[in-house]
Symmetry: C2
Subunit: 361 residues, 2 copies
């Protein structure tokens, strides 16, 4: 938990939006991509998804300066079939291309009932949830997929092969914020291991393996993560990761997981050519809006009313994120001492001001 | 493993197709639905998916005789949007309506690039993999979803809420049989528990809970299954199950998991009104066919070449099923002594011949 009773450094959403945008502009990005990245990162941080929030900014500044990411891409959008669009990200920020893909998807799904949009020649797009959420806020159901470089064992494997390949899904809920599922197909995100390292804690059993493919609880030795389902049922997580490769690499003509340049690679001048894939659905093409709204409300009410374990509560996908979002809208988004230091260094190097901080109550 | 070195009762695929069809016709089903069910069940058995294979026949005969399932449905198909179809199963067999949905989906995806088909007023459809496989064999990528009655805990819950809600995905592979993922979002299928009961074995830790929601390894006491990810990471499996409710119930206007009449209910005269949802994609709408084929081949080759644990092999989704299929095509599909007894009783009651058996080598 980032929330503690101690006073900690926090920033308002707007202040982070401003800081991310200023930094990216100073690092050489054009206005449109800088705005997209700011919105995606600050939004993820607001919802408590710190792994994919503003902590990514220093990395993004480095790779746009290094040339891996084209700061001023010319997106090209084609519509090769009536319900399909292909967005060429021109090696720019994945966030920028992905928001554009959702705009296309919503437009095409409005008339066709369903649409698919692939994104080619892209880069890391932050939290997959950002884009399906955008569709849901406009009244559409959406799925979003991406692959990433090798960090996760295939089932029965000993070496990393798949990425943490995320699957995101969102759907509108009348009178509420959207249903939102945003999950890696690995058992935990990679930065969870980094957390254990920082804190000197053991990694739970059945989470990661060392360079020889042997289970380890030593965070310094974790070389790869298990897929969802762990050793015994990992064919499910690995199967989902495989499915996401078909969507993100095979259907886009982009390299697959093990062919991708690592995000953490020292080579920051070579584009990575990631692919993403979005499916957008117009609920009204299937059932009248009142039927959809009543069905969704009834399902969520029954789910949330399910008997829970002691000291817990059964939540719907997104409930935790929206709770965090309410808290952080009111009290600010925590910025850890380490991240604050990185922000200071970055601001100094780019000649911009640090974010405005507030004290969390 | 069903395969042992002992001689056991086996039947050829064609013999099982003939037996299932004859039984359903005798039980009052019309020819089209009987053929669809026979194809789905014998196909699942051939691929080694015994939980969703011919063992379901006696149940299906009972419910069609009881009136829960309409043996002679009039499917009605509407196309409310250019890339959407809605198949009304008229309370008939889910298998029949789902094959029809795939035919619609392939037809619509061929011209639109992607299509979605919902199935309403349906019933149990057997293995979800059957239908996406049908699309893949015609050169299309497909996703298939269904919900089912409460057997699985929500994350942090103590009582069953979601069904074992399956997610299936298939994609064509040039020169090979399709990529095929067909997974329940529960940690294991329910019939695995029944297996442990029959064999008097303990259920592995972190698999099921008793009626009070407490973990148990006693198969007689298992009242609900954990979602994929188990206690610690079950928010992933439960999140996927939730997503499938949105597709199968909310977007179809059908009842959700906890509102559904249990498949095992003694009431065999009331229709269950299940919903299914299929998404079909034409790969050629996204990339030229040679790019797709080369990308898929390269991905699968790299996955299968991944270093494996001792005495195992990294497999692609479907590899195990196709191995089984080859073996069972050659040597026959095993029919357990218990199932043989059920078949005998059924054949006698319906006045039809038992399946032709062969001896497995």
């Amino acid at each position: 938990m980032l929330e503690t009773n101690e006073v900690e450094l926090c920033a308002r959403y707007d202040a982070l939006i401003h800081f991310v945008e200023s930094a990216l502009l100073a690092a050489g990005a054009a206005e449109d991509p800088a705005q997209s990245v700011a919105r995606a990162l600050a939004g993820a941080s607001l919802r408590g998804v710190d792994s994919h929030g503003v902590r990514l900014l220093p990395h993004y500044c480095r790779v746009v300066q290094g040339g891996r990411i084209n700061g001023a891409p010319r997106l090209s959008i084609e519509r090769p079939s009536p319900a399909v669009a292909v967005v060429d990200a021109d090696n720019g920020f994945g966030h920028h291309a992905s928001y554009a893909a959702i705009t296309e998807g919503v437009d095409l799904a409005r008339t066709n009932g369903i649409a698919a949009v692939s994104v080619i020649n892209s880069s890391h797009f932050g939290a997959a949830g950002c884009y399906v959420l955008e569709a849901a806020e406009q009244g559409f159901v959406a799925l979003g997929f991406s692959n990433s470089d090798s960090l996760v064992l295939p089932h029965d494997g000993t070496q990393p092969f798949h990425g943490t390949n995320p699957l995101a899904f969102a759907a509108p809920v009348m009178g509420e914020r959207p249903f939102l599922l945003d999950m890696a197909t690995s058992i935990v995100p990679w930065n969870r291991i980094q957390d254990y390292r920082t804190k000197g804690l053991k990694v739970p059993e059945d989470t990661g393996v060392d360079a020889m493919g042997q289970m380890t609880t030593d965070p310094e030795k974790v070389h790869a993560l298990l897929p969802v389902g762990a050793l015994q049922h990992g064919y499910k997580g690995a199967g989902l990761a495989s499915m996401l490769e078909v969507f993100s690499a095979v259907l886009t003509g982009m390299p697959h997981c093990s062919q991708l340049l690592s995000m953490a690679s020292g080579d920051i001048s070579t584009p990575r050519h990631l692919g993403h894939f979005f499916i957008v659905i117009n609920p009204s093409a299937f059932v009248p809006k009142p039927i959809y709204d009543i069905g969704m409300a009834a399902y969520l009410a029954d789910l949330r009313a399910s008997p829970a374990r002691a000291n817990s509560k059964v939540m719907a996908p997104g409930d935790r994120e929206w709770q965090r979002s309410d808290d952080r809208s009111e009290n600010g988004i925590p910025v850890s001492p380490g991240l604050n230091l990185e922000f200071k260094t970055l601001a100094h190097a780019l000649g911009i001001a640090c974010p405005d901080y507030i004290q969390r109550r």
